[in-house]
């Protein structure tokens, strides 16, 4: 197997997961695609050296660095965070959709609920600073431990903890309907309209 084949195998195995991470990091499909492809091109250049270590960690870290670099360069440019008001509108519409689901067609209501929920999550993530967003994605989507997250972000474990804490607090404030303090999200979702109607 030559170097290119090894790289192709890596992309075939981890490409989809990297794409999802990239989307959560950017909140935009086009940016996510650019991020994945530019990172993979750079990885392919150094593949022989990268393959000797942990390619997945390398690519993940490269993606985060690239994302941070873009953010610094276009801080006020291409990506405009969803305004907090719009986020509230999304959350409110989700609640209304969920309420409608109790009286209308269940399948339609669930599908609409899922779309609104995804939009809400992406909009809430977009409100976070890049490092907090990266911590959330790495810790709770890629399921990395604190140490691995710290390595990926080139920071200390303490920074990861503090950033995660701040990010969760911010998300709770932005989307209280999504992140309830209850033990189960689905329970929260089911109870929420009822509680609201009470």
């Amino acid at each position: 197997m030559d170097g290119d084949d090894g790289f192709r195998d890596f992309v075939a195995t981890y490409g989809a997961a990297l794409s999802r991470t990239a989307f959560l990091l950017t909140g935009d499909h086009q940016l996510a695609e650019d991020l994945v492809q530019s990172t993979l091109a750079r990885t392919a250049t150094h593949w022989r050296r990268v393959a000797a270590g942990n390619p997945q960690a390398y690519v993940r870290r490269a993606m985060i660095n690239q994302r941070t670099s873009w953010w610094r360069r276009h801080r006020y440019g291409r990506e405009t965070p969803v305004p907090t008001d719009a986020l509230h509108t999304l959350v409110t519409s989700r609640s209304a959709t969920a309420t409608a689901g109790t009286t209308g067609t269940a399948g339609t209501a669930d599908a609409a609920d899922a779309v609104v929920q995804r939009l809400t999550v992406v909009a809430a993530l977009a409100q976070l600073p890049p490092r907090q967003r990266a911590v959330i994605v790495l810790r709770y989507f890629d399921d990395l431990g604190e140490a691995a997250t710290a390595r990926a972000l080139n920071c200390s474990v303490g920074t990861v903890k503090s950033q995660a804490h701040a990010a969760l607090a911010r998300l709770r404030a932005l989307a209280p309907m999504l992140l309830s303090d209850g033990p189960d999200r689905s329970a929260g979702r089911a109870d929420s309209p009822a509680g609201g109607a009470t």
């Binding site: 192709r8 999802r20 993979l40 392919a44 250049t45 899922a114 989507f141």
Partner: protein, 380 residues
Amino acid sequence: VTDQLRSLLRDAAATVPDYADADRALRAASRGRRWRRATAAIAAAATAAVIAIATVVVLKPDRRTADETAPALAGPVYPAVLTPPERAAALPAGGVGTAALLYAPCVRDCAAFLVTDSGLQYRLPAVTGGPPAAGYSLSPDGRWLAWPTGSGVRIRDLTGRTTHDVVEDAAGTTSAWAWSADSRWVLLVRHTDGTAHRVTVLDVTTGTRHRSDPVQHPVAVRTDGRVVGWAGDHTGTGELSTMDPVSGESTRVALDLRSAMRPGEVVTYGDLDTLPDQPLAMVTLQASTATDILGPPSAVLLLDLDTGRPIRRVDLPESAQDNANTSYWSPRTYGPEGITAVHSTAERTEIVQLNPDTGARVVRTTLPRDSTVVLRGTRR
């Protein structure tokens, strides 16, 4: 909350397509490698071109011949530190470029080295029984090197192959005694038992030479080829003469430097450095001490060669000659860059330029201790 968040994130990313395209990434990487290689090649070529041009400009020997007009005076390029090389080529017959100085890193039993303005060092053979660098003389522009040959003096162009041999038939020792400030004339003096017997003035640009008997003690040659003679003692009084070596005619003026001298100081006229474009020369005053008639140099005077009067006195840094703190200042030349002096200490030898107005000192070159140094326009 974290479980909720995990679930929400997975839901949000569930419909994200797979953007990863390995072949596209490989093609982009290949393009990047080609671009980097091309850029590196262009950068390497550009760097090589710059180095080549710089090398040609800096190191190209000056191919001018003696028939051409003498080059404009340019200051010597002193290396910050001069260390005698373990191995150095002997001075070749061809051009090596103008010289900044020559030196020997010892008093005896070592080689002397010619240092070019481009920083190269060439080994010089000893030509006298004294210190290795003794007997050599450099023109003020660093282009001409003179040394005794036993029967006379050889003067060679360091930027080409021109040489002038001045052969004396009389007994004694001939040396290149002084240079005119524009480097055109060199004054050769034939000494026997310490007395000047004959002077020869050589025009190095044409090879023309004029011989005459000295009217007085010859000390300098002016830019028109006339020889400056000195008669008198060390007290600062006497007579200054200017002799045309072709016609033999001379003019004389009374010399009186006492108004610029301090009690106990004496004049040493053997080394008189003429200045370019002005009828001025630098003479050195030495302070006599209780134990030594000629103490260390204490000041330099600018002397008007036409009037025989001093026009400026510049005090030198104080020399110290006790064993604990040796510091000896030897002024060599006076020019636009100030007074160039050789400063000898127990640790090192330095070429220092002194600002006559402010007294500021700038160390131009550091050499090993006990080095003997011959600067441009001087014979020691």
